[in-house]
């Protein structure tokens, strides 16, 4: 792990000088700001039961599906396409260090993009002057959920990037995997055929992996160790597969 910091600072610097980072950030903030305004408008028309923060974070899946592939599709695919992975791996660094550094840089960017949406709530507080709008519980819970679930989403993206030398293939693969994980599992939970007795194990696994219900728990202030374990173990698994993916491509290149 001696070179992890060198690699990480290199990756972060590369993200900062890359125009695509800023395009992604502007688009992300634009879309999120648009949605936030929409939420506020509906609040101004009719009174609601839930706090704006809760509604705001309930659309987390939308930016996840689009921003995560954009942020991660490049990381390993581009290195392989340019051939710089060869110069990188013939220095004393290990594949693990390379994958972890790329993962951390993408995660840092993802988290800082989300953190910048905190500005919306600050503006709301400043101009509305009404503390009821800013229920700190759902707000903290929502950000915590984004930070913890982001670990897994970014890891899935890095894994997709390790599978192809083509960025767009990696991006589409990542989108499909995330959609399966977030939306697909939700559909499965509603499927009636899973309610049969022989599927009880599968049913409980599907319920365990419900990202939407994790979100609800987090914003209600319930932080379940099992859910955190779900994200951590998923992340570790995805990263191990990414490392194996990079090394397997070397063996068969």
């Amino acid at each position: 792990m001696k070179h992890y910091l060198t690699l990480l600072s290199h990756e972060v610097r590369m993200l900062l000088v890359n125009p695509s980072t800023y395009i992604a950030a502007v688009m992300f903030l634009g879309v999120m700001g648009f949605m936030f305004t929409g939420i506020l408008e509906s609040y101004s028309k009719t009174p609601q039961d839930t706090s704006p923060a809760q509604v705001f974070f309930s659309i987390f899946w939308f930016p996840v599906l689009f921003i995560v592939p954009l942020l991660t599709m490049k990381c390993l695919a581009e290195e392989r396409r340019l051939g710089t992975i060869e110069t990188l791996l013939t220095t004393p660094v290990t594949t693990t260090e390379v994958v972890l550094a790329k993962y951390s840089a993408a995660y840092l960017l993802y988290v800082s993009l989300w953190a910048s949406t905190g500005g919306f709530f600050y503006i709301l507080k400043k101009f509305a002057g009404d503390s009821r709008f800013l229920d700190s519980g759902p707000l903290i819970g929502g950000y915590l959920f984004v930070a913890v679930s982001g670990l897994l989403f970014i890891a899935v993206g890095v894994f997709a990037s390790s599978l192809s030398r083509n960025q767009s293939v990696a991006g589409i693969l990542c989108f499909a995997m995330l959609a399966g994980l977030i939306v697909g599992v939700r559909f499965l939970a509603d499927a009636t055929w899973l309610n049969r007795d022989i599927f009880t194990l599968a049913k409980s696994a599907v319920d365990y992996a419900q990202i939407f219900s994790h979100y609800e728990d987090f914003t209600r202030g319930v932080i379940d160790a099992r859910q955190i374990l779900f994200y951590f173990s998923g992340t570790v698994l995805a990263l191990i597969f990414s490392i194996l993916g990079v090394e397997a491509k070397l063996l068969h290149s």
Binding site: N18, G83, T87, T90, P92
Partner: protein, 335 residues
């Protein structure tokens, strides 16, 4: 960093019975060679001969199917981390990140290669100077011309002063002036670092390398110094004569000068009655003068006498042709 020249000259690189197969295709078939410390060795071979694969295995980037590679006495398969500290590698096509500045890139690579921060600054200045890159140190690599990019790759390979440097086609795409710079650069490493370069440009290899390894179809088909190779592959030396007069007794007189001297080709006399005659001999040293005297003593008129200087190109063509023949025939390449 470099080993003292007076040491007992341990081998920098030992490759024995190296085999690499990709999905049933044999890229490298039983290559063995050794390189002494401080030597510059050139890999020659047609496209797809297995040069790049061999180099990648030497760096530990690709695993070998069988056989062993030792660099500075360490096994590449068992101590990959140690090996990577001992090698400066420039891959084929010299991949570089597009959006970094030259000095930034060298700093990053230096840190990855575990050069301490304190030493790295002066060392970067040194390699920039060596590779004539000072003017572009703040330029973005993606905007550099091919020649500069190539030199950035070379600068990066020698940055950490590794004992072994492996460069895959370092002079490809350079203009003659830049080739000269790169050649001098490589020659300046002689004795301090062990260098392996591969190239298609034969005069290039001939001028810089102490020894040459000709590879074809994944096999070493010839190895040695350029002079040895000439003798081994083409055999002896060759002379070209233009003579007129009675040539019937020529072979007998030639045998008096040198018993192995034989006429290999002879043309019909031209308008002035001169024929051009090719001679070949096993003798390597110059026998032009006794030959000329013998001819003149026989009242043969001589218009010209020259020794044919075969180039490495001839050796390369002859050696690869020989290896194609050997592959076509069932028996292994004959020496």
């Amino acid at each position: 960093m470099s080993a003292p020249a007076t040491a007992l000259q341990p081998l920098a690189i030992e490759v024995s019975h190296l085999v690499k197969t990709y999905a049933g295709v044999t890229a490298v078939a039983d290559i063995s060679f050794t390189v002494a410390r401080g030597e510059i060795i050139g890999f020659l071979g047609p496209n797809g001969a297995g040069k790049s694969t061999t180099m990648r295995i030497l760096t530990g980037y690709l695993p070998a199917t069988s056989g062993s590679v030792r660099i500075c006495g360490l096994s590449v398969a068992h101590q990959p981390d140690e090996i990577k500290r001992k090698i400066g590698y420039m891959p084929e096509n010299n991949p570089l990140p597009e959006d970094m500045r030259v000095s930034e890139y060298l700093y990053f690579r230096g840190r990855l290669k575990e050069v301490s921060r304190r030493k790295l600054g002066p060392r970067i200045d040194e390699v920039l100077e060596l590779c004539d890159l000072k003017r572009v140190r703040h330029k973005i690599i993606g905007q550099l011309s091919k020649g500069y990019r190539q030199r950035v790759g070379i600068a990066e390979a020698i940055l950490a002063e590794p004992p072994v440097i492996i460069m895959d086609e370092p002079t490809i795409g350079l203009d003659p002036h830049q080739i000269l710079i790169v050649r001098d650069l490589i020659a300046s490493l002689r004795g301090r670092m062990t260098v392996i370069i591969s190239s298609h440009i034969l005069p290039e290899i001939e001028m810089t390398c102490d020894r040459v390894l000709i590879i074809n179809q994944g096999r070493v088909v010839a190895k040695g110094t350029p002079t040895d190779l000439r003798r081994e592959v083409l055999g002896g030396s060759h002379y070209q004569l233009e003579v007129a007069g009675d040539l019937t007794s020529l072979p007998a007189h030639l045998a008096l000068v040198e018993p192995t001297l034989t006429v290999t080709a002879q043309t019909e006399p031209d308008a002035a009655g001169f024929r051009s005659v090719s001679l070949s001999t096993d003798r390597v040293d110059e026998i032009g003068e006794p030959l000329l005297r013998a001819l003149l003593a026989q009242n043969v008129r001589v218009r010209s006498l020259s020794r044919v200087h075969s180039t490495l190109e001839d050796v390369f063509l002859a050696a690869t042709r020989r290896s194609w023949d050997a592959i076509a025939a069932p028996k292994p390449a004959a020496k």
